[in-house]
Amino acid sequence: MPDLQSQDYIRRSASTLTPPSIRNHEQEVAKLIDVSRCIGCKACQSACMEWNDLRSEVGRFQGSYDNPMDLDPSTWTLMRFTEWENEQGNLEWLIRKDGCMHCEDPGCLKACPAPGAIVQYANGIVDFISANCIGCGYCIKGCPFDIPRINPVDRKSYKCTLCSDRVTAGLEPACVKACPTGAIMFGTKTDMTRWAGERIADLNSRGFQNAGLYDPPGVGGTHVMYVLHHADRPSLYAGLPDAPRISPLVGAWKGLFKPLALAGIAAAALAGFFHWVVVGRNEVQPEDDAEAQRLMRDSGEPK
């Protein structure tokens, strides 16, 4: 996405200083996906393709209704279908809209080495600024939900933007607008949390004792939340992480290796300084010059 909202940044990848957020009146937003009223129609997937003008390949049937089979650089959201037989022997078809969770503490942003390639706005949306992306793929390693995908053509990383362009203009994300059953709602995180509470009470009354809200604390909560009938077992829903957290490798890179590396650079600079103080600058000696002349002769370079 283009960098439309720099005044809203509250985090910026590979930047030591927290950028000043000029607009400080923004409310935190959230998309609430109520799995219990989702009918798996894929209107959200179509709307995402339409709004963002994305078209992946016409694929193959591979033994499920998940089409395409996985997220890809042109598929930023995907319905994932899981057939599950519950304890009573009844079948449940758990259908989950997969995509970026817009973590409060985004692992992708933490892992990203390219300054300003990943940003977080004051409203909580985590966005990829393609112009700054170097295609290293560290964001994939950093993401506890396995969301970003690198496009092999332009070597940039892509994922759901939570329609940051629409949200900036006061609109709801395209998937929310398209959802026919109101399974995807959008608003302030406070409102969405409260609404989720009502839905959970309804599910409890229908025999889903473990219904609950998925807003995992391991990543500081998310700006995309789920109402799950089985919140005690999120992984039933096509492997939604039970307790997501940022990979320790990212912590190691940021927490240990990065300071070490910075220390290394500092040490080299310091050593250079002391060399200059103690020995003085390096100078070219006559024998160095003769050697250089010989090398040029041998290479047959015209004079």
């Binding site: 219990s36 009223r37 989702c38 009918i39 798996g40 129609c41 894929k42 209107a43 997937q45 179509s46 393709m49 339409e50 078209r55 992946s56 390949e57 016409v58 694929g59 193959r60 049937f61 591979q62 033994g63 499920s64 209704y65 089409n67 395409p68 057939e83 037989e85 009844n90 079948l91 449940e92 078809w93 758990l94 259908i95 026919p180 059953t181 109101g182 399974a183 839905r199 309804d202 229908r206």
Partner: protein, 815 residues
């Protein structure tokens, strides 16, 4: 639909059976979710497969395809046994107490009057006992052994829970759980809505499937009330409009019926159409048939339709059989009896049964004209597309004309939704390339034909030469002008009771009550009268305001008939005129008028004490538990097996299948048996595609790219079929090679003591478009239709399945 989409939210129980609402009607399904959330409704799904609808249901019960009548007859039995009916409603508003003729009977699967030779019934015994004045006799105490409710009780007695389970394969506990939820809506302030579609219609007993549910709804007092009704979810944005304007070979607009060749004059035709009341003081609204008919003839022939030529009755075609439906038309093409075919907005090669027969039939034609926005399979039937459409064009002499048409978004016009709402739409963009509107093309054909008749004469030029064609642009009439034609005009000043002029000559009519049988009014489709009046295009209204927030929205578009949103709404109030459910009233009697949020389906000042029944179209004014002679199979529904069934009919082995279904000899020879084809197959749509159109769209093709069939894990294991592996599916009529989706969502059913496997066959893929090439489900399906409507039996037939190797190009691709 008797009710509206929005009204579904008022239901206490939603029964999805005979349809897969969430997948086939995802937008409308929002109202089911609304009912769940706002009205604490329970949702039931009864379906051979655990569908996406089932994924959000409270109860799911599996059922063997083609056994819905047994299931629902069992429901009726339990309701009657437990007294879980809305007694006062049933007594006052249905024909439960009317007495049936003594010579009516049912034995060994057949009603009285069966003629084995002709495969049809003499229906004279299917009637009430009548008194000297010709009125039906009634016993409101229900003591008489031959009153309808007692005969119904006797008829469904065989459908015990054990028998239902034996026939349908539904586990008894699930069946009883469903029954209990359905029965809970017998309370006067509770309603059940049922959402059905082709899952009921596409059977050789399709109409009777729907009839059985209608009986359930009448017993529960759920017809005419908010959150109730019989709600057919139409499978196409304007298929409701198609039936309304009578685009079937035996119909005329507004559900009038075409004469047959025995009805040689107008009066004779009228005799069997203008139904006289069967109970004193009843409305029997079809008494006005003559006004509807004469006004129609005036719309078609204008001044040429006169009293002295019987309103041009002789110019109407007269049927010489039960109808030239599509099954018959292709039978005739296959036999060389039809040799020209104008195929407008239809793709039979991809969507009508026994594809091989369709392909052969098209190859017999002299000419085929295809009018369609898309490059359809039908228009390319002659071309060789490999195994999905093997053909040798050198051997086909059919001349094919492809006339590209605009689609709905490229023209102004109206669409009629499932809830009978006529909604105007405006052109969004011009059609591409040489595409022309259907109106322009049909008009061009008409002008050229008329010119030929003028110059060359012909056997019967009158109907063409006299057709009235007074449009501003005769080459391409404006859709608004056509809409006004449908609404109708008056040719004289119309006065009200006080003598004041209501309408001037030449003005548009306000309602069908103004239609006359003396040639002073016209209307192209009487039920549409009121849709385009002097006040303007009512279909273009877009006021969403909704008094009481009950899903009526009376100023949004226009609903036929008379802008009435809920049919039979008189039945929402008790005999005294007070709403059964005070929380969700539709209309009530205020002492002098019927008032409320909907247009009363009743005389606006008819007093409750007059005893006029709420079902004003029926001769006795009552909802019919006993259908008299209106259905070809009998007045009560009976379980008949599909024409291809894995088990005998355990109720009456001598009468296995619908005894009055029309089956052509070649088609019968193409029925398979369970010994060769042991598995039950059923066809259906998936959310990602709309019929066989959207495979032409890239996005839909991405979302469901390739043909597959769904099989249960047990069968897959038996057959060694892997998830996503290639299979060869065969019926007596053809072969489909595609991938398998091995799923937990289809389980083997215990039917008649044995195990029955069901295989699901989605319909979407063909050999044109952007999705991957497919064979099409209709390669497999049998050519037999519902005995009343000739809707093909797509939902229950027999197949075999074997694991197979990937086709050659696949091997190459995988290598």
């Amino acid at each position: 639909m008797t009710n509206t989409w929005q009204d579904i939210k008022n239901a206490n129980v939603v029964l999805c059976m005979g349809g897969n609402a969430a997948e086939a009607h995802p937008c409308g399904f929002k109202w089911v979710i609304e009912a769940k959330i706002e009205n604490r409704a329970k949702v039931i799904v009864v379906d051979p497969r655990f569908t996406r609808t089932a994924s959000v249901a409270d109860v799911y019960a599996p059922i063997r395809p083609g056994t819905d009548i047994a299931f629902l007859s069992g429901v009726i039995r339990l309701l009657l046994e437990k007294g879980a009916i809305q007694r006062e409603y049933v007594r006052a508003y249905t024909n439960a107490g009317l007495i049936v003729r003594e010579d009516f009977g049912f034995e060994e699967g057949l009603f009285t009057g069966y003629d084995e030779q002709g495969g049809s019934y003499d229906k004279s015994s299917w009637h009430y006992e009548v008194d000297d004045q010709g009125y039906a006799k009634v016993d409101d105490t229900w003591q008489h052994p031959r009153c309808v409710i007692n005969l119904l009780r006797q008829h469904v007695d065989r459908y015990t829970p054990e028998m239902v389970s034996r026939i349908c394969g539904t586990p008894q506990d699930k069946y009883l759980e469903v029954c209990e939820l359905i029965a809970s809506t017998a309370a006067p302030d509770k309603a059940l809505t049922n959402l059905f579609a082709l899952g009921w219609a596409q059977h050789s007993v399709g109409s009777q499937n729907i009839r059985t549910m209608a009986i359930v709804q009448l017993l529960l007092g759920n017809i005419g009330v908010a959150g109730g009704g019989m709600n057919a979810l139409r499978g196409h944005s304007n298929i409701q409009g198609l039936t309304d304007v009578g685009l079937m070979s035996n119909l005329m607009p507004g559900y009038m019926t075409l004469p047959n060749d025995a009805e040689t004059n107008f009066e004779q035709y009228m005799q069997t159409r203008q139904y006289k009341p069967l109970r004193p003081g009843q409305t029997s609204y079809w008494q006005n048939y003559r006004s509807f008919f004469v006004s129609f003839q005036k719309a078609i022939y204008g001044d040429a339709a006169r009293a002295d030529n019987d309103w041009a009755y002789d110019w109407l075609p007269k049927l010489d059989n039960d109808g030239y439906d599509i099954l018959r038309a292709f039978e005739m093409m296959a036999k060389g009896e039809i040799n020209g075919y104008i195929c407008q907005g239809f793709n039979p090669l991809q969507s009508f049964p026994d594809r091989g027969k369709i392909r052969r039939a098209l190859g017999n034609l002299k000419f085929l004209v295809v009018m369609d926005p898309l490059d359809t399979e039908t228009s390319r039937f002659w071309q060789d597309f490999g195994p999905q459409n093997p053909s040798d064009p050198a051997k086909i002499q059919t001349e094919v004309f492809q006339l590209p048409t605009t689609c709905f978004a490229e023209e102004n016009g109206s669409l009629i939704n499932s809830a009978r709402w006529m909604q105007w739409h405006w052109k969004a963009t011009d059609g591409p390339g040489e595409a022309r509107s259907d109106i322009w093309i049909m008009t061009g054909i008409f002008h050229r034909m008329r010119e030929m008749y003028r110059k060359e004469g012909g056997a019967f030029p009158d109907p063409i030469l006299n057709l009235s064609w007074n449009y501003t642009d005769p080459i391409s009439p404006d859709p608004e002008e056509l809409a006004k034609d449908m609404n109708g005009y008056t040719f004289t000043d119309l006065n009200d009771a006080s003598g004041a002029v209501v309408l001037r000559a030449g003005q548009l009519l306000d309602n069908f009550g103004q239609l006359r049988d003396d040639g002073t009014t016209s209307s192209g489709c009487w039920i549409f009268t009121g849709c385009y009046t002097e006040k303007g295009n009512q279909m273009a209204r877009r006021d969403a305001s909704d008094p009481r927030e009950q899903g009526i929205a009376p100023n949004w578009g226009w609903a036929w008939p008379a802008n009435r949103r809920i049919m039979y709404n008189r039945a929402s109030a008790d005999p005294a005129g007070n709403p059964w459910n005070p929380a969700k009233p539709l209309i009530r009697w205020n002492g002098s008028h019927w008032v409320g949020i909907d247009v009363p389906d009743y005389g606006p000042t008819t007093k409750p004490s007059d005893g006029v029944g709420p079902f004003i179209m029926n001769t006795e004014g009552l909802g019919r538990l006993f259908a008299l002679d209106q259905m070809v199979e009998g007045p009560f529904p009976e379980h008949y097996e599909p024409f291809e069934s894995p088990v005998p009919n355990v109720l009456h082995p001598k009468v296995e299948s619908n005894p009055v279904a029309r089956v052509f000899a070649d088609d019968r020879a193409a029925f398979g048996t369970a010994s060769d084809f042991p598995y039950v197959a059923t066809t259906y749509r998936l959310t990602e595609h709309f019929h066989v159109w959207t495979k032409h769209g890239r996005m839909n093709s991405i979302l469901q790219p390739e043909e597959f069939v769904e099989i249960g894990e047990t069968l897959a294991k038996e057959k060694g079929i892997e998830q996503g592996g290639w299979v060869r599916l065969t019926s007596k009529r053809g072969v489909v090679v595609c991938k398998a989706y091995v799923t937990k969502r289809i389980r083997p059913l215990t039917v008649n003591g044995g195990s029955t496997h069901v295989i699901g066959v989605p319909i979407h893929w063909g050999f044109t478009g952007q999705a991957r090439k497919g064979y099409g489900a209709n390669t497999l399906t049998p050519s037999v239709g519902d005995a009343n409507s000739q809707t093909p039996e797509f939902k229950a037939f027999l197949v075999n399945i074997e694991k197979t190797r990937p086709p050659e190009p696949e091997n190459a691709a995988n290598a």
